[in-house]
């Protein structure tokens, strides 16, 4: 993206974000029912959540759509063979494509961080909440971009690659809550019965639930923030379950480990796909 297009898009994005924040704030004031207006902290939290939601959409759906066109676009443009016959290593091609796609998404994320400052002014969030959420967003952006990039190396048309990438991102985003709801509705009555389950079952359910949440960006953001605000726990907190001490881990840590590993695997797979000499 060169010339004025990038600048115009960035301006439009910031105007929309500004409009969104203003609307959220007005809506919050209107719906608070408090004659003296909402508490600044609550309004700040609402603004923070709204900006974060836009960032999540950018990372989960827009970023991967950019990368899903990266390699397959070269094939469609008939420049792929030209690149393949040069001395450009597959690693450089993958890294270059990843960075070029990520750079614009990162730019959009970074320029929206000052808007989060409004939440600070209102006193709704703590610096650690902001840092943690932005860290999760930045790591997720890489992994989701690599998902799009890998699909781009496999498929043969930009449209198919974009749709497949969107479907994968959609499944990863909404699949986990659906799986959790199904497990709860089907297995819940069997496991719990009329009485409280035994402590091993409770532990298993807590860890299982947290692990499931750690596969999903919105769930990880919400639960990690809850642990931070309610339990003042950045990494973990302790609780007694049936009189036994249990360490309850915030899901952001397993999320980061899982997504970094997935990202590395996808990066390696992309290089393998590009290195491969066509058999047909």
């Amino acid at each position: 993206m060169r010339g004025q297009r990038a600048f115009l898009l960035m301006t439009a994005y910031l105007l929309l974000m500004g409009g969104l924040i203003f609307t959220v704030y007005l809506a919050y004031v209107a719906s608070s029912g408090n004659n003296f207006g909402p508490s600044n902290r609550q309004a700040g939290k609402a603004v923070f959540t709204a900006v974060l939601l836009v960032q999540v959409i950018l990372v989960l759906f827009i970023g991967p759509t950019f990368t899903s066109a990266a390699i397959v676009g070269e094939k469609e443009r008939q420049t792929y063979d030209l690149l393949r016959t040069t001395l450009l290593p597959a690693r450089s091609l993958v890294t270059g494509k990843l960075l070029s796609s990520l750079s614009y998404i990162y730019l959009l994320i970074i320029v929206s961080i000052p808007l989060q400052g409004i939440a600070f002014l209102l006193g709704g969030i703590s610096p650690i909440e902001l840092l943690l959420s932005q860290f999760l967003i930045l790591i997720s952006a890489i992994t989701f971009a690599l998902i799009g990039l890998y699909i781009s190396t496999v498929l043969r048309s930009t449209l198919t690659a974009s749709l497949t990438t969107f479907a994968v991102a959609f499944t990863l985003t909404f699949g986990t809550p659906i799986v959790a709801a199904l497990i709860t509705s089907i297995l819940g009555p069997v496991l719990f019965g009329p009485s409280t389950p035994a402590w091993p079952v409770q532990i298993m359910l807590i860890y299982g639930g947290l692990l499931l949440a750690a596969t999903n960006l919105p769930a990880t953001l919400v639960i990690s923030d809850l642990f931070l605000v309610e339990q003042d726990a950045l990494v973990y907190f302790t609780d007694f379950i049936d009189g036994r001490l249990a360490y309850i881990w915030s899901p952001w840590l397993p999320y980061i480990i899982l997504y970094i590993l997935l990202g590395l695997l996808l990066y390696w797979a992309c290089i393998r796909r590009i290195k491969r000499v066509a058999r047909k």
Partner: protein
């Protein structure tokens, strides 16, 4: 001269379809080889294997001694490839296009500026340096793509239909450019459907049909083998009977045909001549001494189309 391209038993199968069947040939350094054959004969498949883009089912090929299957990076260093269809990047200027590909060939930035200018001058696109690639005409894009193949100064150029889709002027410019590259000592292996152009610039031809190499060698020698006699056309100012009488008397003249028998211009006779240059000269002198009003007396060189039609049967894989 040393061998620069060596192909040994190259076979490529796509499922049940054999696109290339046991192809073997060697090309000497500095040669210009025209690769001709009907559509689907396996020309592009061969070129894609030679440029490390496609894995052969069996067989092997070497470029400058490097194996296309086990030393692809070394092969890419010595070969410049121009595919039959090639794309351009939107929003990229002509000089940026060449600079980008030069960077892909590990050419240091300090050397690239001069190199880009030199290449643009070679393909006569210096005046288009600041234009966006997308705005160039087809012929200019083709020349730019050829310049791209030269970015790393390769020994071998593999060009798939370099003149396809070009108008006559652009085709002539491309032909001149190939001549220039030939003079620079590059080995050129190119496919084309425009047989007259192949005949114009190549030193040898390889004819491929249905994945088989049906002929390969020096163009003049192949023509000679195909047609051992010479074909001569003579046009007079109307004394056809006198002309025929003299020709019949000559021992080296056979197969006399007139415009009444075959498709020839009026008052023209075509015949096969088996004699030497000296004997042909004597025949012409005899016609003039016999006061036959000769307008033209010319030998038909035989074109590549005849050769192509003779060698191929119109089979595709």
């Amino acid at each position: 001269m040393s061998t620069i391209i060596e192909i040994d038993g190259l076979t490529k199968q796509y499922g049940q379809l054999t696109a290339l069947n046991n192809l073997s040939l060697t090309i000497e350094q500095g040669a210009v080889v025209g690769f001709i054959g009907p559509n689907g004969a396996g020309k592009t498949t061969t070129m894609r294997i030679l440029t490390t883009l496609l894995q052969p089912t069996s067989g092997q090929a070497w470029l400058a001694g490097f194996s296309v299957t086990s030393q692809p990076r070394d092969v890419r260093r010595v070969v410049g490839y121009m595919p039959d269809f090639f794309g351009v990047y939107e929003d990229m200027k002509v000089w940026e296009y060449l600079d980008f590909f030069a960077a892909c060939y590990d050419i240091p930035q300090s050397a690239r500026r001069t190199m880009v200018d030199d290449l643009l001058a070679l393909v006569d696109l210096g005046h288009k340096k600041e234009e966006f690639v997308d705005n160039l005409s087809r012929g200019m894009k083709q020349r730019l793509c050829l310049a791209r193949t030269l970015a790393h100064d390769p020994q071998v150029l593999i060009l798939d239909e370099p003149a396809s889709g070009l108008d006559p002027r652009a085709r002539i410019e491309m032909r001149e450019l190939l001549r220039e590259l030939k003079n620079m000592g590059k080995t050129i292996f190119f496919s084309s459907h425009i047989l007259s152009e192949v005949a114009d610039i190549c030193t040898s031809i390889a004819v491929l049909e249905a994945g088989h190499l049906v002929a390969y060698g020096d163009l003049a020698e192949m023509k000679q083998k195909l047609r051992p006699h010479r074909v001569v056309h003579v046009r007079t100012l109307g004394q056809l009977e006198d002309l025929q009488r003299v020709l019949i008397m000559n021992d080296h003249v056979n197969g006399i045909l007139t415009s009444a028998e075959v498709d020839l211009p009026p008052d023209t006779i075509r015949f096969d001549f088996t004699g030497s240059d000296q004997q042909m000269s004597s025949l012409l002198a005899e016609l003039i001494q016999g006061e036959i009003p000769i307008v033209s007396f010319s030998e038909d060189g035989g074109d590549l189309e005849d050769l192509f039609l003779h060698l191929t049967r119109g089979i595709v894989s």
